[in-house]
Subunit: 206 residues, 2 copies
Amino acid sequence: MTTPDDTAALNERHRARMERKKAIIDAKIAAADKQIGIIIVNTGNGKGKSSSGFGMAIRALGHGMKVGIVQFIKGAMATGEEQFLRRFPEEVSFHAMGEGYTWETQNRERDIAKAAEAWEQAKRFLADPAIGMVVLDELNIALKYRYLDVENVIADMLERPSMQHVVITGRGAPPELIEIADTVTEMNVVKHAFKAGIAAQAGTEW
Amino acid sequence: MTTPDDTAALNERHRARMERKKAIIDAKIAAADKQIGIIIVNTGNGKGKSSSGFGMAIRALGHGMKVGIVQFIKGAMATGEEQFLRRFPEEVSFHAMGEGYTWETQNRERDIAKAAEAWEQAKRFLADPAIGMVVLDELNIALKYRYLDVENVIADMLERPSMQHVVITGRGAPPELIEIADTVTEMNVVKHAFKAGIAAQAGTEW
């Protein structure tokens, strides 16, 4: 049985532990004071790479920033994020490469031409200081298939306005990109509904 | 030097490889045909757990679903996602626990009371078939500190409308929750800007 004394002791231990934790966290926050545009990469085989990019886009919108989005590879089918974000044309510029996954087109030269066109759009966002965040969804796939040259892509990114954030998603981020990124997360599958026979459903997967 | 013949051969190999890939993917898609509300868990120490939850919320909104969001733990400071999503009160119901991280409050009994109140709100969403997606942001932290009982939380979730999706975020997801979830992703840190002295900035971190 838990007595009132036990509870009081537990509450006090909790308070003391949280006080120490706060001191550590506050010191870390004080040490990390640089304000600068960062490059974020979401990679790995798990879920959440693109959706996290769109979640950051709405964070940025909530703080009054403008957002530029280019969807590489995807785009044959209008996704939920596209349908929603196209409601705010003053705040979000949305460009979808428009040809679907490369295993759907099966046409390498066409994919390369479309990727180059999408990168031209990305470069316009990366040159525009009025855009606070650029989301380059599935860029890693376009790099993996060598539709775009990683060194050119990196050079264009590093020349962007100093306060602009860039979020890049897709499996298989190339090592050159990981090297120059500020924050890199690997999304790993623990389990996936698809393996259990559940379809890729509206709202969760697209 | 790449000759026209080399390029033609490369393009043909690409086409053949993508044709095989498409056959495999199409077969997997045909086998996964169940349409049902799923439970998604985003855990791990890396970035992207909450932002992916908000990205899925806008996917669901794009498909015309209504979304219910409860933010556990966070909430002392208005985040970008909160400021943005509160613009759509007909489509998004947003509830923030409102006391900040537990190391800020340092008061276990108050945290428990606030978590119980937030869970009552979550239960209202989980009982409402008009809500297509429920996002329980940082619920894992509330479970880790035992502010809520994991068995009760799971029981309430399993009783929800059959087509409703639930997205749960936060480090340290308990094994009982992973067991009943359909899709679980572990976000792992490869590198983080904070370690390099860059502040948690508006738009990317909150």
